[in-house]
C-alpha cells in the first residue's frame, strides 16, 4: 500500500431509527485504482456510497480525502471536492436535452444566458470519452433506459473527478456499451482517478476491480484481490453456493404455447418458436433485439400485426393483458417497481389484482378467501414482509420480485413469461427465484425466460432462442448453447 490513500474512511457507523446500517467500516481508496464493493442487498453498500457521496452523514467515523479530514455534509460539498456519483436511480431531468443534462452541474453561460454552443461542445467531449453516440439536442425523456444510463455516466465524466462512485452503472447497458464503459473506467483509473464500483454482476466486479471489499449485514467481512468468484460469493453470503443455477430434472411435456410467424411492425419480424410444459425456453438477444417486445406481445401489451399464437393447440387472439390472462399467459415485466407492482398498495392487494374477478361475487371481494390465498402463497414463496397489509414499497428487491411472481402464480399459468426476473436482486433471493422456477416447471408450467445475464440464461434454459434485430437467428438445444457461441450470435453482423 502506498503512502496516503486518496480517500480513507475509518470506523464509519450509521444507524437509522431501529437499525444499524453500517458498523465500524474501514474503507480505503487509492488514486488510480478500481475498488469493487460487494454484498447482498441490505449489506450496507448503498449507505456507504451515500456517505462517500455526501447524501448521508455518518454517525461516527472519520473521512479523509488525501489525508485531510473532510465533512461531506451534502452532495454539493462532495462534488466540490471532486467526488462524483453515478446512481442506480437516474438523477436526470426528462424535459432537458441530453447536452443540458450532461452539463447541468456547471452550465456555461454568456452574459447570464445559457451558452448553447459551449453546452454542446462540453457534452460532446464527455460523450466522446465514453465512445458512444447520443443525440445532443433530444430531450432525455425520449431516450431508452440504456441511453439514459449513458447520459448519467457522461454527466459524471463532464466534470473533473478525483473519486468516481459507480452504483450499478451497467444494469441497463448492452455488452458493447459495457465494454466501452469499462474502457473509460480503466482510462480514468490510469489518469489517477479512484473508482468505487458496485454491481450485482459478479463477473464485472471481478473483471474491473483491482481489489474487492465485501460487506455483510453492515459489517466489513474483508478485502480481497482475488478473482475467484466462488470465494467472493462465499464471503458475501457466509456459505457456499456450489451450484448457482440448479437445473431441475423435469420431464418435458406436450406443447403449451406455439408462436408462428409473429410480427410486430418495427419491433420483431417472423418469430416462430414453441414452448412445452415443464420447459424453460430462454430468449437471448441484446437490448433492442426484440426480446422484451416479444414477451409484451404475447401478453397483449404490444400489437401483433401478423402471425399466430396457439395455447395448448388452440389458436388464440391476444389483444390485451386480459386476453392473455384468459388463456393462461402470465408476464413478469422487466421493471418491478414501475410495471410489476403498485408500490403504494399492500402486499395483499398487489398479489390478488389479477384474480379479483375470481374471488369476487357481484364485484364484492371475498376477503377471507383472499387472505387465505395470500397467506399461503406468501409462506410458500417465503416472501418476507412485516404483514400482509404492509406496503409493497417496504419490501426488498428480491421480495418484491417474488411478490410479482406470486401474483401470476395465482392464475395457474400455462405459460409464464419472465423478463429479467433477477435483475437487481441479491444472490440469496436469486437462488430462491430459481428454485421457484424449478418448482413451476415441475408442476408443468412452461417458462419463457428473457435475461441479459447470459450465464443465468444458459444455466437455466432447456433451449435458447437467439434473436438479433428482431429476427430469430436460431434455436439452440442446451448442450449447444455455450456462452461464446450465443454471445457471438447475438452481437455479430448479418451472417451468423
Amino acid at each position: 500500500m502506498n503512502a496516503t490513500p486518496l480517500l480513507s474512511l475509518r470506523g464509519i457507523s450509521k444507524t437509522y431509527p431501529g437499525v444499524v446500517a453500517l458498523s465500524g467500516i474501514d474503507f480505503d481508496l487509492q488514486a488510480g485504482e478500481v475498488h469493487g464493493l460487494v454484498g447482498e442487498n441490505g449489506a450496507g453498500k448503498t449507505t456507504l456510497l451515500k456517505i462517500i457521496g455526501g447524501a448521508e452523514r455518518a454517525d461516527t467515523g472519520v473521512i479523509e480525502l488525501q489525508g485531510r479530514r473532510v465533512a461531506l455534509a451534502s452532495p454539493r460539498e462532495a462534488q466540490a471536492l471532486g467526488i462524483r456519483s453515478i446512481h442506480q436511480e437516474f438523477n436526470l431531468f426528462p424535459a432537458l436535452t441530453v447536452a443540458e443534462n450532461i452539463c447541468l452541474d456547471h452550465l456555461p453561460t454568456r452574459v447570464g444566458l445559457l451558452d448553447g454552443r459551449s453546452v454542446r461542445a462540453q457534452a460532446r467531449e464527455a460523450i466522446g470519452k465514453l465512445g458512444v453516440q447520443l443525440p445532443l439536442d433530444t430531450p432525455v425523456r425520449q431516450l431508452n433506459v440504456a441511453d439514459q444510463q449513458l447520459v448519467e455516466i457522461a454527466r459524471a465524466l463532464s466534470a473533473e473527478a478525483r473519486v468516481l462512485i459507480m452504483d450499478e452503472p451497467t444494469s441497463a447497458l448492452t455488452e458493447r456499451e459495457i465494454e466501452a464503459l469499462f474502457a473509460v473506467v480503466r482510462s480514468l483509473r490510469d489518469h489517477g482517478v479512484g473508482v468505487v464500483f458496485v454491481s450485482h454482476r459478479m463477473e464485472e466486479v471481478l473483471e474491473l476491480s483491482d481489489r474487492v471489499t465485501v460487506l455483510r449485514d453492515g459489517r466489513l467481512v474483508g478485502e480481497t484481490s482475488t478473482h475467484d468468484r466462488g470465494e467472493v460469493i462465499r464471503m458475501m453470503v457466509g456459505r457456499q453456493l456450489d451450484d448457482l443455477y440448479p437445473k431441475a430434472n423435469v420431464q418435458i411435456g406436450p406443447e403449451t404455447l406455439s408462436v408462428h410467424g409473429l410480427t410486430s411492425a418495427g419491433r420483431f419480424t417472423d418469430v416462430t418458436f414453441c414452448l412445452h410444459r415443464g420447459e424453460i425456453l430462454g430468449i437471448a438477444g441484446v437490448i433492442g433485439s426484440g426480446r422484451t417486445s416479444i414477451g409484451k406481445a404475447l401478453f397483449g401489451m404490444v400489437p401483433i400485426n401478423r402471425g399466430t399464437v396457439a395455447v395448448d393447440q388452440r389458436p388464440v387472439h391476444i389483444r390485451s393483458p386480459r386476453d392473455a390472462l384468459r388463456v393462461g399467459i402470465g408476464y413478469l415485466p422487466e421493471d418491478r417497481k414501475t410495471l410489476g407492482l403498485v408500490l403504494s398498495l399492500s402486499v395483499r392487494h398487489n398479489e390478488t389484482h389479477v384474480i379479483l374477478p375470481r374471488i369476487s361475487r357481484f364485484g364484492w371481494v371475498d376477503r377471507g378467501r383472499e387472505r387465505d390465498i395470500v397467506t399461503r402463497r406468501v409462506q410458500e414463496l417465503r416472501i418476507r414482509t412485516p404483514s400482509l397489509d404492509a406496503q409493497a414499497l417496504h419490501l426488498s428487491g428480491g421480495n418484491q420480485q417474488k411478490l410479482v411472481l406470486a401474483k401470476w402464480l395465482e392464475i395457474r399459468p400455462a405459460a409464464l413469461i419472465l423478463d429479467e426476473p433477477t435483475r437487481g436482486v441479491d444472490v440469496g433471493a436469486k437462488a430462491e427465484i430459481y428454485q421457484i422456477m424449478g418448482d413451476l416447471v415441475r408442476g408443468g408450467v412452461g417458462i419463457i425466460l428473457i435475461s441479459s445475464d447470459l450465464p443465468e440464461l444458459l444455466g437455466l434454459a432447456d433451449r435458447v432462442v437467439v434473436l438479433r434485430d428482431g429476427r430469430v437467428v436460431t434455436t439452440l438445444d442446451r448442450p449447444d448453447a455455450t456462452q461464446e457461441r450465443v454471445l457471438h450470435m447475438v452481437t455479430m453482423g448479418a451472417a451468423a
Binding site: 437509522y16 442487498n41 414501475t338 403504494s344 398498495l345 389484482h353 364484492w364 418476507r384 414482509t385 417496504h394
Partner: protein, 330 residues
C-alpha cells in the same frame, strides 16, 4: 427501512395486522374535535342541535361532490367540471320536472351530469387529452348548456318530493344529511370492499403496473368520471330542492371546495392513497370552520384567508407524518 429490519420482522409470524392509525389520521380527527370544542366554549350557539344540523345541511352539497371527486383523485385524475354540473343538473331536473314529473326530472338531472362525466372520461382516455384540460373545458361547456337550457333564468321547483330531497326532514334530521351519509357509506363500501374499488387504487397508484396486472385501466378511469358526474348531478338536485329553485348560477366555484375537502382529508393528489372517510372529515372541518367564523362574526373576507391557511396547515401536518415514516429509508 433497511433489509435488516425486514429480516428481523420476517421472523415474526405473518399475521394480519389491523391498519395502524397514523399521526395524520389522528391529527385530522383531533383537529376536528378541538375545533368543535373551541367553538362550543367560544359561542353559546355552536353546540346546539339546531346549529349542528344546520352545518350538516350546508356541508351536504359540497360533501356529495367531494365524494365523487375522491374517486377521481384516487384514480390520479381531477374533475374541475363538478361545479358546473351542479348548475346544469339543477336546471335540467327542475325543467323536466315541471312537465314530466319529479321522477323524470331527477332522472334527467342525474343522467345529464353522468353523461357529461362519461364525455369527460372518454375524451381523456380515447383522445388522450389531460384530465385537467378536459374537465376545465367541461366546466365551461356545461355552464353554457345550463344557461342555454334555462335561458339564464332560475327555474322554480314546485314538486313536493323534489323539495323534500333538499328541504325535508326524517324526524329531526334534514334529508340532505341523510343523502350525504348514504353517499359516503356507499362510496366507502365500493372503494373498500369491491374489485372495482381495488382497481381505482391500483390505477391511481401506478397506472402502468395496473395495466400489466390485466386491469382495464380505460374502463376504470372512465367510470370514476361517470361516478363523479352522477354525484354532481345528485348534489345539483339536492341544492335545487333546498332552495326551491334551480339557479343557473348554482355551484359556481364548488369544484374547488370539493377538491379542498379531498386534499384536507389527506388524499394524495397523485392518486392511489387516501379514502372517502377522510374526505368526509375534510368537508366537515371546512363546514364547521365556516360556521364557527360566522358565529364569531368574522368578516367573510377573513374567512377565505382562514380557509386557505387551514388547508395548507392540514396538508403540512400529514407531511410531517410522512417525513417521519420515511426518515431511515435506505
Amino acid at each position: 427501512m433497511t433489509e435488516r429490519t425486514r429480516a428481523r420482522k420476517s421472523r415474526a409470524s405473518i399475521v394480519a395486522r389491523p391498519t395502524t392509525i397514523s399521526v395524520a389520521d389522528y391529527g385530522l380527527v383531533l383537529a376536528f374535535l378541538a375545533l368543535c370544542a373551541a367553538l362550543t366554549v367560544l359561542t353559546p350557539t355552536f353546540f346546539t342541535s339546531q346549529n349542528i344540523l344546520n352545518v350538516g345541511r350546508q356541508v351536504s352539497v359540497t360533501a356529495i361532490l367531494a365524494a365523487g371527486q375522491t374517486f377521481v383523485i384516487l384514480a390520479a385524475g381531477i374533475d374541475l367540471s363538478v361545479g358546473s354540473l351542479v348548475g346544469l343538473a339543477g336546471v335540467v331536473a327542475a325543467g323536466v320536472a315541471l312537465h314530466a314529473g319529479f321522477v323524470a326530472g331527477i332522472g334527467a338531472g342525474l343522467g345529464v351530469a353522468a353523461l357529461a362525466g362519461l364525455v369527460d372520461g372518454m375524451a381523456i382516455m380515447l383522445i388522450r387529452i389531460p384530465d385537467f384540460v378536459v374537465t376545465l373545458a367541461m366546466l365551461s361547456a356545461a355552464r353554457g348548456l345550463d344557461l342555454i337550457y334555462s335561458g339564464g333564468e332560475p327555474i322554480g321547483v314546485a314538486s313536493q318530493p323534489f323539495l323534500y330531497l333538499g328541504a325535508g326532514y326524517v324526524g329531526p334530521v334534514p334529508v340532505p344529511i341523510i343523502i350525504m351519509l348514504l353517499v359516503f357509506a356507499a362510496s366507502h363500501v365500493v372503494l373498500r370492499y369491491t374489485a372495482f374499488g381495488r382497481y381505482v387504487y391500483a390505477v391511481g397508484g401506478n397506472r402502468r403496473a395496473a395495466a400489466y396486472s390485466a386491469i382495464d385501466v380505460r374502463r376504470v378511469r372512465i367510470a370514476v368520471y361517470v361516478i363523479s358526474g352522477m354525484l354532481a348531478g345528485l348534489a345539483g338536485v339536492v341544492l335545487a330542492g333546498r332552495l326551491a329553485t334551480a339557479d343557473p348560477q348554482a355551484g359556481v366555484g364548488y369544484e374547488l371546495d370539493s377538491i379542498a375537502a379531498v386534499v384536507l382529508g389527506g388524499t394524495s393528489l397523485f392518486g392511489g392513497e387516501g379514502s372517502v372517510a377522510r374526505t368526509l372529515l375534510g368537508a366537515l372541518i371546512l363546514g364547521v370552520l365556516s360556521n364557527g367564523m360566522n358565529l364569531l362574526d368574522v368578516s367573510p373576507f377573513y374567512q377565505q384567508v382562514a380557509e386557505g391557511v387551514v388547508i395548507v396547515l392540514a396538508v403540512a401536518i400529514s407531511h410531517i407524518d410522512e417525513l417521519r415514516s420515511r426518515s431511515g429509508a435506505d
